[in-house]
């Protein structure tokens, strides 16, 4: 019951937040840039008759009051119509359907790698504060936070092409269901590059949480009465640090979005991030708007899942009703 209440409350607040996010996206991308239609037409704008301009304006909703524009856009989005790309003349929803799976797969591998590396090293260094595993963990976290994905990516690509004559595939991305092995090869390097930044942040949080839990009375009691090491580490320390790891992983998703944009460009993966950059350069507003909305929605939903997951893991959070 309590859990259900928590979820219901979160879903409600999510709808409010998504509404707010859509307003922000709309204001930034629709109201600020002025006339997206003329921008997309470029020099050929002068060749159109007045009637043609009016027809285009009506199609894109130019000239209507902003509020009306917003609601007609919202209505269209909610009924699954994301508009038509100004450069590719394709429905945006179709383009998203092609690019989203690649970005999702990349993000999935990156976050899994990040959690494994980060939580593992964090637990290890937190259990040995001041010793060499701690020093290793600290250096990994400093480097992970300070070396951007674009530097790691470029350096790895250069090194691999010189040393092993391995080049990031510039051919079209192979879908997971077409050839899982080729697909895995294409994804795993970019995912690794992406995961380092995430791992660093998770490492810091995990280490902090482990240190904190180790100093609590119940942990010292458990050690004192001779609980065996393995069950001490996993049941007393790790389980109690888990909410911190989960929360940080959710926060890192925001970072992940930025990372996918960069990494997809380095490794020439035709994901949503790459599509977003080409669309920004082409001033293709419907595509940029839709991708922004999809990213924002994904971020909000994952953060809700994080809250729910934390409530499942930690009964104290459930009781407070979050």
């Amino acid at each position: 019951m309590n859990l259900l209440q928590t979820i219901a409350r979160r879903v409600f607040s999510i709808l409010i937040t998504l509404f707010g996010a859509s307003v922000i996206v709309f204001v930034i991308l629709r109201v600020l840039p002025g006339n997206a239609v003329t921008a997309s037409l470029g020099t050929s704008e002068g060749l159109l008759t007045k009637a043609q301009v009016a027809a285009l304006d009506q199609y894109y909703g130019v000239g209507q009051p902003a509020l009306q524009q917003y609601f007609s856009w919202l209505h269209a989005v909610l009924s699954g119509n994301l508009g038509v790309s100004l450069t590719y003349r394709q429905p945006v929803s179709y383009m998203l359907g092609n690019t989203l799976p690649i970005t999702l797969e990349l993000s999935f591998f990156a976050i899994v790698l990040g959690i494994v590396i980060g939580a593992g090293l964090g637990l290890w260094s937190g259990l040995h504060p001041g010793r060499w595993p701690d020093a290793l963990g600290q250096s990994v976290s400093v480097l992970g936070l300070s070396v951007p994905a674009l530097v790691i990516g470029e350096v790895l690509v250069t090194w691999f092409s010189r040393q092993f004559h391995y080049f990031p595939s510039s051919a079209n991305s192979v879908g997971f269901f077409t050839d899982p092995w080729v697909n895995f090869q294409q994804i795993i390097f970019p995912a690794f590059v992406l995961s380092l930044g995430i791992a660093a942040a998770i490492l810091r949080t995990t280490r902090g949480a482990v240190l904190e839990v180790t100093n609590l009375n119940f942990a010292r009691t458990a050690l004192g009465k001779g609980v065996n090491r393995r069950s001490f580490v996993w049941r007393h320390i790790f389980l109690n640090s888990l909410t911190a790891v989960v929360t940080m992983s959710g926060i890192q998703l925001g970072y992940l979005l930025g990372g996918t944009v960069i990494v997809e460009n380095i490794y020439v993966l035709n994901g949503m991030g790459r599509l977003m950059i080409t669309s920004i350069l082409n001033k293709d507003f419907p595509v940029v708007q839709s991708i922004t909305l999809v990213f924002a929605a994904g971020f909000v939903i994952v953060n809700m899942l994080v809250d729910v997951l934390n409530a499942v893991i930690d009964p104290r959070i459930r009781k407070r009703g979050a």
Binding site: L29, L145, S146, M248, T292
Partner: protein, 297 residues
């Protein structure tokens, strides 16, 4: 970031945020603080050299006789495919990156601090409105803000700074609001209110000096993030257009030549990493210096 802890030891109490004397000394005594001060000083000097054109060669001076030469005394970071000196380019790039990072941090810092102080010090309604807005902005990752705003505004040094800075406002708001809330209920602020001090005097003489440490830490970390974000945008071709070459542009340009001339990639990459490490260290050091609990421990 915002880990909620029930441990009373982790709650910020008014006593925690009283003024700390000698924080400069404490900063120098902490290992990461000293490293941060040194690295940041060197980075800033390098950036100033770039801004004031004190580079060994003209950063855009092409020379067909020195194309893709490796590291030597004449060119300590080698030359690129146009015979340009990489070190001179890096100095100029650091200058551009720092300019944008400082502008970004000013935008996020000023707006965020004003918002955070208002949310913590002013009435219930102001606070509620600001915090709802902050929540909504938090729902959109900072990167998305940057990309959306770049799309709308275009690309220039100021545009890029706004694009990166806006996404960091909500973080400032939260970081600043918490200690302001604690300070508002502290004895000396209450005493001031009883004595009839004006809001302005309470803010400027009693609240602001006590959150200076928190703001300093956040500013240092934001500078590090801004350098990273700007490098990312420029790398994607969304930063200020040429001839303004930032470090991100240089990394992007080097990707074509790095296979045969690794130094074209190494120079700008190293500059980004060192600058970011410097500001991160400085932030950690400031945090240690400003926090009496870690200082005594």
């Amino acid at each position: 970031m915002t880990t909620t802890s029930l441990d009373p030891a982790d709650q910020v109490t008014p006593e925690d945020v009283v003024r700390h004397r000698g924080w400069l000394g404490a900063l120098w005594r902490s290992g990461s603080g000293r490293a941060g001060v040194i690295i940041v000083t060197v980075t800033v000097l390098a950036g100033l050299a770039g801004i004031w054109n004190l580079t060994p060669y003209a950063p855009d001076g092409q020379d067909p006789s020195t194309v893709l030469k490796g590291i030597s005394f004449a060119h300590i970071m080698g030359t690129d495919q146009f015979g340009r000196d990489v070190f001179s380019g890096v100095l100029q790039g650091i200058g551009v990156s720092l300019e944008i990072a400082v502008l970004t941090t000013l935008i996020a810092g000023v707006v965020g601090t004003v918002g955070g102080v208002a949310a913590g010090f002013l009435g219930k309604w102001t606070s509620a409105v600001i915090m709802r807005l902050t929540d909504m902005m938090f729902a959109i990752p900072a990167v998305l803000f940057s990309l959306a705003i770049v799309t709308a505004l275009g690309q220039g040094i100021v545009d890029t700074s706004i694009a990166i800075g806006v996404g960091w406002i909500p973080i400032y708001v939260r970081v600043v609001r918490t200690p302001v809330l604690a300070l508002r209920e502290s004895d000396f602020v209450r005493a001031g209110r009883v004595l009839g001090f004006s809001r302005l005097r309470l803010l400027s003489r009693h609240i602001l000096p006590n959150i200076a440490g928190v703001i300093a830490v956040q500013t240092s970390l934001t500078l590090a993030w801004a350098i990273l974000a700007e490098a990312g945008l420029s790398y994607l071709g969304l930063g200020p257009p040429p001839p303004t070459l930032s470090l991100g542009d240089m990394v992007n340009n080097a990707s074509a030549t790095a296979g045969v001339a690794w130094w074209t990639l190494a120079g700008p990459s190293l500059a980004i990493v060192v600058a970011v490490i410097g500001f991160n260290f400085l932030g950690d050091g400031l945090r240690d210096a400003a926090d009496p609990r870690t200082r005594t421990r």
